[in-house]
Structure formats: structure tokens, C-alpha cells
Point group: C2
Chain length 568, copies 2
């Protein structure tokens, strides 16, 4: 009984009992491949956030397990991702924190507060918050974030010391004026790694049969990691050429600990945590939806809030930092044949194993290699296609994409995304504030009425029939009043105005006021206002609002045809 | 030639040359009556802003003249108004300014920056900014502002000393805990004035013939001012009972001066000036529209930006503070028979005369009387009717009204109105994010299709015909995807889906993506997607966006009837 009640909230209760032996080989292979990708990647993302590499590994064990229990997506891989790392890092820099212990405690706290935010959003059923950003804005945001992430790796790629907290332009400026300090060996290691990653993924494996080629391609980061460790160790690149290496990583699983309760500090980082939570949710839900659509599974936005919230709490308690569902990693999981969240559990166990046994071998891993892995991973996020499409289809959407892109690059991730949301919304309001109003006439011999500009139709000198192609609400009431008055003033013959409401799905209180004003003004001008084709739900509301009393001699007709027949 | 070119920008070039002698008597009478109202009122409003009384008079001369030259409204009276005074006052308090000279220079600077803001908005043609606030939000905002203005007068009514910068609740608390300090004479003068204002306006003049009664009623403030000055002077109420009086007002017209250029200071108050400019524009344009509609005149929002901007510059250069079009005063102008802006010029000249000759007589004017005039003037702004209407017609509009009302009372005017705008917009987005989707069928024997829930219609087991009653845009793409997938998953018999687009006026790039995803997913499920009744402008855009290539076997039908005929 209890299990039945819990089922909707704990998806594992649904898929585990019906698990089939045939599903296991896919889950096992996918679990192993994702682990191979995730070990270097999670360390690299921790570096983006300015945290020690083991924090990335910690954030990949417990969160991944918890998501496997609660998530509604069967194949999404949760863990450290670029965007969360970038936002965490910029918040830590903004707060001016440099003490290593404090870095760890505050990044865990961010995960805790993000988790609590997501769970609160679940309780308030705020899954619909994803509706406030348009695709072009998300595209502009993601591309800009990818560029910011790449430039955050500049210092590791070149082996120069750069002060933290620099903007994009300042970073480039600093690099140019310190070009003589570039560490050649570091740069060579980085370039060689990037080249190798691209070659293994592309030309090398594309000629092999897809099954082997795919797996080999996905193991590219592992190959680069092993090769570079061997090189660095054999030639002692760190001691001889100042190549930065990962160094000693504490072995063993993270200690479970509850972050300290320090309310003034919590208040200080809460706004950042909320924004990280919302952006993480946004990223995860679009990844989950993209995967689910390929296998006709259903993603429940509110369930995802719960699952991601729990994953972030897990990250907080095990010394991690904010996590989300990553696109690249989830695609690898999916395409390697993952059938159920068991693949995620296998990945998490392997990462745990790596933490216990493999850390000594990572000592010589060059940081520049991790940067190279990041750069190759996020380069795929830079998206020209959406811009091209928006430019063709709708210029103003293209402009909002570009504006968001530059806003994120110039004023930063946090304000940039808020700015993007404001732009999406303003644009839509602006659009619907000047609705298309068509003068219609009858197609001779029929009951159909069409725009006089597009069709050859019959009109009547005393009757003006207008079809308003938009909901009536506060943003367009002024325009509507002005436009209708203009048309009437221009034509003194008109005695009857028919407002055709076939495209009006909603009339708000402001528009109701406006309609009353229009009726009143036109009455004084000797014109009677009629309505036609009012939809059921709109009519129900008009009746409630005592609007019909204002109509005077005006009538409400079922169809435009009826209205014309009576008024002619 | 030049005059012809300038005409659209300087309305006086239009009305003055065609001025008729018959219009003069109305303009003269209205000009005098408005001056009678404006002299005490403008001093009172200056008090709301925490400024000396003459500043209110200064703000009524040059601004009124300039508006008469540039304004597109023929009867609106511009000058100090409650809302501008409240916002100016709260900004001055926030900045902690107490030095009298600095108060004057910063309030003039606010007028300058507001004026520049309005003129910039004119250049950018941002007259449409008025479209971002719904009527219920404006109503909630205005009512709350009226209450704040009334409570700002509490100290003058009771004759107690109150520290500045208190919130509403703090003011009440302070008064209750200092109730023993109330100056009885001050309180009596205030109550007596309020009573007199109400009686003269109402019972006393309502029985007289409208022409005389109307003029007498409008002179009520003058009567109260004269009576109270006589009383205060004869009984020396100021010396004997500590009644606060206006005292010495510098005689003569204001000196023309250009505010100092102090960029750091400008930057500090710019956000306040912008908000004051927008709110002032909002108030003025609704007053102008209300008046214009009664005489079928046309108000041009962009011309009003220019006129109000110029009026505010005039106020800045002549020692005033931010001005706007006032509702009460403009109604008096209108109903006293003003025909052209000449009435405003006459009012301005009379105020200039008052400044030169009458200031000594105002010495004994009790401040409590000015407070009484304000309270009676703004009490009419508290608006229950809109709330009642919204509550009946649309609960969520009523909720946004209440929320704005309390937000303004609790967090203040500036943030309150931003909050209101955010609520209006979020509510609308939320509304359109879950569009009404109707399954339709054919009314037997006709070509008409209606909702199967509301009508008795024929359907076909292989065909699902959906009418989506909303524009498709980023806020509802998720809902649309989920809803359509749900309907198809629930019914495996369906092979053809017809999306009826008669109510869709707009499809943005996000929705275009979504439609492509839906078509792709349904193709895999063996369902073909067709479209019917796509509007001309929407079709034009779809063609541009290469959308038709994604349709596959799906077709676009002119009418739902055509679609059914072919697919059956």
C-alpha cells in the first residue's frame, strides 16, 4: 500500500521491480563509459569553479545515486556541469573568498541552498518557471556561457598567473600584456591534448564500425589523461618546466557532513543559490526532455525539481558543490545503451572506486589537460544554428538572442540571464501590444468572411466589420481604443461596428474597461457596437462582469454571417 | 513652410491662428477658477514633498505655460501633483537631505532629469511604455499612493513633530505613542477646514443652480484659505497656540537658473528621476485621454512626452520640482468651460501675479489648512469601484490590484510600482502559458466545427482535430508539447492530427521549434500532423522559416472542413 502511494514520487519503485536481465548489458556498458568520461571531466569542472579537483569527484557520487532513485528521466547523468561551475566560481570570486577551507564550506553551502530552493519550488509546484525563457534567449545564454567557461581556462592553458575576478575583456588584455610569461610546455601539452581529443573523436573513429568507433571515441578523454600522465611522470615536466599538475588528491570517499548553520552567511549567498538552482533546473529539464522524446518517455517537471533538489542536498552533505544534468554526458549515457537509472548507479560506484584506489595515479595529471577536456566539451554548446534559424524566421527573436549573448559576456551570467528573461517578455508584450486588426467582408455567395486586403469580398457602407487577431489585455487596450476611433473618425457613413472575436481567447479587466469606453464613445458618435463569434469561455466571463448592460442597442451574434444578415 | 513643418510638434501653431472670440469667455473663467484652486494646492503639494510652499507656486507658472505651447491635450492642467510630490519627498528623505538650499537644488535637478528622461523617451518613441501596467495595478497603486499622501500630512494635522523617513506603520505607531503632544488648536483648524471643504463642495452648493453652484463649489479652497488666514491673524493663533503657519514667502517671480552639472550626483538620483518621469507620464496620459474622449479630441502619446518633458525642464529652470498633469485640477478646468490651452496661460499669468503681489497675505495661512486641502483632494483617488469590478469579473486581476496596493503601502512607491508591473506581466504570461485546447467536431450537416464539450458534434476515430486558442510562443510551448503527446498516447487509434490555427495570430521561434519536435515525435508514432485555417501573416512567416519542409506527409488546409473531407 505504502509502496503504491510512494511510487509517483520515487520512480525507482517502478522500474526496479520490473527490471529485465536483457537490460543489464546496456546499463553496465553505459555506466562504465560514463565513468571513464566523468572522472577527468568532474575534476576539470571543479577547476572551473576554482575548487580542488576532488570536489568534482565528490559531487559525482552521491548526487548521481540520489538522482537515480528520484529522477523521472531514465538516462540523464547528473553531476558537475559547466554552467553550475561557472556560476559557483563567479560567486566565490565576487565574495572575495580565497581561504581553501572556506571555499569548500561555501561551495557545499551553495549546493545545500540550491537543493532547498529546488525542493521549495517542488512544494510550490513552480515547475512552470521554465516557461519564462524563450529558446533564442536560452541559446544566446548557453553560447555565451560556453565562451566564458573557455576563457576561464585561459590561464591553465597558457600556464600564466592571472588575478581572479577579471571580466572577459580584462582577461584578454591581461594575457596580451603578459604574453612573455606563457609557459611553452604547458601550451604545447594543452594544444596536443585538444588536437588528440578532436582526432580521436572524429577522423580516427568515424571509419571504424559504429559500435566500436563510438566506444573508442567516448574514451578519448581517458586516452589523453593516461598519455599525459605518463609523459608528465617520465619527463618530470612539473619540476623541469613548471607544468602545473593536479598533485596529491586525498584518497577515499568524502566524509558526510552537514553544512554549518550560519544565517547571515546564508542570507548573503541565497540569491546566488536561487539563480544557480533555477539555471540548473532549466538546463536539466531541457536535457531530460530531449532524451525522453527519443524514447517516448515522459518527464515530469515537478518530479525533476524533487530529484535535482535531493541530488544537490546529497552533494552538499558529501563535500560537493551545485550539480545538474549535463547534456554531453547524458548523451553518452544514452547512446552507449543505458536502459534504466541503474547505469547511473554503476557510474557512481565506479567513481567511488576511483576515489578509493585511483587518486595516487592522478598525481601527475597536467591541469592543462583538464582544461583541454573542458574546452572540447563546452565547444559543442556554442550554437550558431538557432541564431541562423531565428534570423530567417523572426528578426526580433534573433535580436533577443544576440542581446542575451552579449549581456552574459559583458555583465555576467547572473544578471545576463535575468536580462534575457526581461527581453523575452518585453518583446512578446510589444508584439501583442499592436495587434493585427483586419477589416473583413463577405466572400460573395458564401457565409465566409475574409480580410478585405487579401481577398475579393463584399462590404456594406454602413457596416464596419473588424476582426481583432489578439487577446485583449492591458498591453493592447490603448492601441485598440486609438485604432478603432481612428477608423470611425475617418468614415462618417458607418453606423454599425461589428467586432469579430474569433481570435480572442481572453479579455482581462483592463480590456473590459476599454471596451466599455469604446462603446460609450461610439454611442455618442451615433455608432452601435456589436460582437460576433465570441468564444464560450470569453462569453461566460463577460456575463459575470455585467458587461452586457453596457451594450445598449448592440447585440452579440453567433456568427459574422448572422450579424451581416440582421444589420444589412 | 517652416510653420507647416513645425505644426505637428507645436500644437499652439494649430489652435491659436484659428482662435474664435466666442471661446475666450470660457477660457478666461476656467483660467481664473483653476488659479484659485491652484494657489493653495500647489503650496500644499510642495509641503508633501517636504519643500517650502513657494516651490509649489514656482512649479505652476513656467511649466503650465510650456505645456500650453506643446501639449496635445487642450484642457489638461499641468503643475505639482500628489504622486510626483510624494515620490520627490520620499527620494529626498531617502538621500537624507535636510539642508534647505540642497533640498531646493536637488528637487530642481530631479525635474531636470525627469524632463530629459521624457524627451529621450520621445526621441526613442517610447510612448508605448504605458502599455505595461494593467488598469487594476494602476488602481491599486493610485489608492495606496493617496493613502500615503494622506498619512504624510498626519504631523501637520496634529501639530506634532515627527522624524522624517518613517514608514506607514511607524507613523501610526509614533503618533499613538506621542498622542499627548497633539496640538488641539491645530487639530481643530484641520478638522474645521476638512468639514468646510466637504460642505461647500457638497450639500451647500448642490442645491444652487449648477452654473453658480459649480463655481462656488470649486472656490471652496479659497474660502477656507481666506477664513483661516483671518482667524489666524486676528487671534494670533501662531504665537498663542503654536499653530504652524506658512510664514514669510519670498515675493516675486522665481529666478531662472540652470541646475549645476554634478555628474556623480546626477547618477545617484537618475533612477529616481526616471521612475518619477514614467509615473508622471502615466498619470498625465490617462488624465489627458479621459478629457479628450469627452470632446473627441486626439491625444498623441509621443507629443505628450515632449510637452511634459519641456514642462519639467521649465520647472527645473525656474526653481520648481517634477510636475505632471493633475486629474482634479484638469477636471475643474474642463468643467469650467476651458476651450483651448489659453485657459492654462491665463492660470499661469494669475499665479505669476500671486507670486508678485499676494505672498504677504499668505503669511498667516495655517499649514494644517493646506494639509486639509490635500487630504480632501486626494481622498477622491481612493478607488473601490475598480476592485469590486475586478473581483466580479476576474479574481486574478483583483488579486494583482490588492498585491500592488499593499506592496506600495509596505515597500514604498518606487518599488511598489515596479512590483505591480511585474505582477501584471507574470499573471498574463501564466494565463497564456496554459492555453485552452479544444477538441472539435463537425456540427452535423454543416461546414462548422465546434468544441465537443459544448456542442453535439460528429467526430472520426482516426482523426483528432484540435483548436488551440492562443498564440504559440515561448511561455506555452512546453504545455503544448505535453498536452498533445498526452492526447495521442491516450488514444492509439488516431492516425491524423489536425491543428486548427484560427485563433493563432503569432508563432515565435521557440514555438516553431516545438512544432517541429511535435511533428517529428508524432511521425515516429505513426501520426501525421496537418494544419488548418492558418492566418495569412502566420503562413507568410512559416514559409520564410523553411517550416513546410518539416511537414512530411502533413498538409496545410484552408478550412477544417476541407481537412475533414480529405482525411475521412
Amino acid at each position: 500500500m505504502l509502496r503504491q502511494k510512494l511510487k509517483p514520487f520515487i520512480p525507482i519503485l517502478e522500474w526496479l521491480p520490473s527490471y529485465k536481465r536483457a537490460q543489464f548489458s546496456g546499463d553496465l556498458l553505459a555506466g562504465i563509459i560514463v565513468a571513464i568520461v566523468l572522472i577527468p571531466q568532474s575534476m576539470a569542472y571543479a577547476m572551473v569553479a576554482g575548487l580542488p579537483p576532488q570536489v568534482g569527484l565528490y559531487a559525482s557520487v552521491l548526487p548521481l545515486m540520489l538522482y537515480s532513485l528520484f529522477g523521472s528521466s531514465r538516462t540523464m547523468a547528473v553531476g558537475p556541469v559547466g554552467l553550475m561551475s561557472l556560476m559557483t566560481g563567479s560567486l566565490l570570486v565576487e565574495m572575495g573568498i580565497t581561504d581553501p577551507d572556506q571555499l569548500l564550506s561555501i561551495s557545499a553551502l551553495l549546493a545545500l541552498l540550491s537543493g532547498l530552493t529546488l525542493i521549495t519550488m517542488r512544494l510550490l509546484k513552480l515547475g512552470s518557471v521554465i516557461n519564462f525563457l524563450s529558446h533564442p534567449v536560452i541559446s544566446g545564454f548557453t553560447s555565451a556561457a560556453a565562451i566564458l567557461i573557455m576563457f576561464s581556462q585561459l590561464k591553465h592553458l597558457l600556464g600564466i598567473k592571472m588575478p581572479s575576478g577579471l571580466g572577459l575583456a580584462e582577461k584578454i588584455g591581461f594575457t596580451l600584456s603578459n604574453i612573455d610569461q606563457i609557459n611553452t610546455v604547458t601550451l604545447l601539452v594543452a594544444l596536443f591534448s585538444i588536437l588528440l581529443l578532436i582526432i580521436i573523436r572524429g577522423p580516427l573513429t568515424s571509419r571504424l564500425p559504429p559500435s566500436i568507433g563510438g566506444i573508442l571515441g567516448k574514451s578519448a578523454p581517458l586516452a589523453v589523461v593516461i598519455i599525459s600522465i605518463l609523459f608528465a611522470a617520465i619527463f618530470q615536466l612539473s619540476e623541469n618546466y613548471q607544468l602545473a599538475i593536479v598533485g596529491a588528491i586525498p584518497a577515499g570517499l568524502p566524509n558526510l557532513a552537514i553544512p554549518e548553520i550560519d544565517l547571515p552567511l546564508w542570507e548573503k549567498i541565497l540569491h546566488g543559490a536561487i539563480l544557480i538552482a533555477v539555471v540548473g533546473f532549466l538546463e536539466s529539464i531541457s536535457v531530460a526532455k530531449a532524451l525522453a522524446s527519443r524514447r517516448r518517455e515522459k518527464i515530469d517537471a515537478n518530479q525533476e525539481l524533487l530529484a535535482l533538489g535531493t541530488a544537490n542536498l546529497g552533494s552538499a552533505f558529501s563535500g560537493g558543490y551545485p550539480v545538474a544534468g549535463g547534456l554531453g554526458r547524458s548523451m553518452i549515457n544514452f547512446s552507449s545503451g543505458a536502459n534504466t537509472p541503474l547505469a547511473g548507479i554503476i557510474t557512481a560506484l565506479l567513481l567511488g572506486f576511483a576515489l578509493i584506489c585511483l587518486t595516487p595515479y592522478l598525481y601527475y595529471l597536467p591541469r592543462a589537460v583538464l582544461s583541454a577536456i573542458i574546452i572540447v566539451a563546452v565547444s559543442g554548446l556554442i550554437d550558431f544554428k538557432t541564431f541562423k534559424k531565428a534570423w530567417q524566421y523572426d528578426r526580433s527573436d534573433a535580436v533577443s538572442l544576440l542581446t542575451t549573448f552579449f549581456a552574459v559576456l559583458i555583465i555576467g551570467v547572473e544578471l545576463g540571464i535575468l536580462f534575457g528573461a526581461i527581453i523575452s517578455v518585453s518583446l512578446y508584450l510589444h508584439r501583442s501590444s499592436q495587434p493585427h486588426i483586419a477589416i473583413v467582408g463577405r466572400i460573395a455567395g458564401s457565409e465566409h468572411f475574409r480580410n478585405i486586403d487579401r481577398h475579393d469580398v463584399e462590404t456594406h457602407p454602413h457596416i464596419l466589420a473588424l476582426r481583432i487577431d489578439e487577446n485583449l489585455y492591458f498591453a493592447n487596450t490603448n492601441y485598440l481604443e486609438d485604432k478603432i476611433m481612428e477608423m470611425i473618425v475617418d468614415n462618417s457613413e458607418i453606423k454599425e461596428l461589428i467586432l469579430i472575436c474569433s481570435a480572442i481567447n481572453f479579455i482581462d479587466t483592463s480590456a473590459l474597461d476599454s471596451l466599455e469606453v469604446i462603446i460609450e464613445r461610439l454611442k455618442n458618435a451615433g455608432v452601435t457596437v456589436h460582437f460576433a463569434e465570441v468564444k464560450g469561455p470569453v462569453m461566460d466571463k463577460l456575463k459575470k462582469g455585467n458587461f452586457l448592460a453596457h451594450l445598449g442597442e448592440g447585440k452579440i451574434f453567433l456568427s459574422t454571417h448572422d450579424a451581416f444578415s440582421v444589420l444589412e
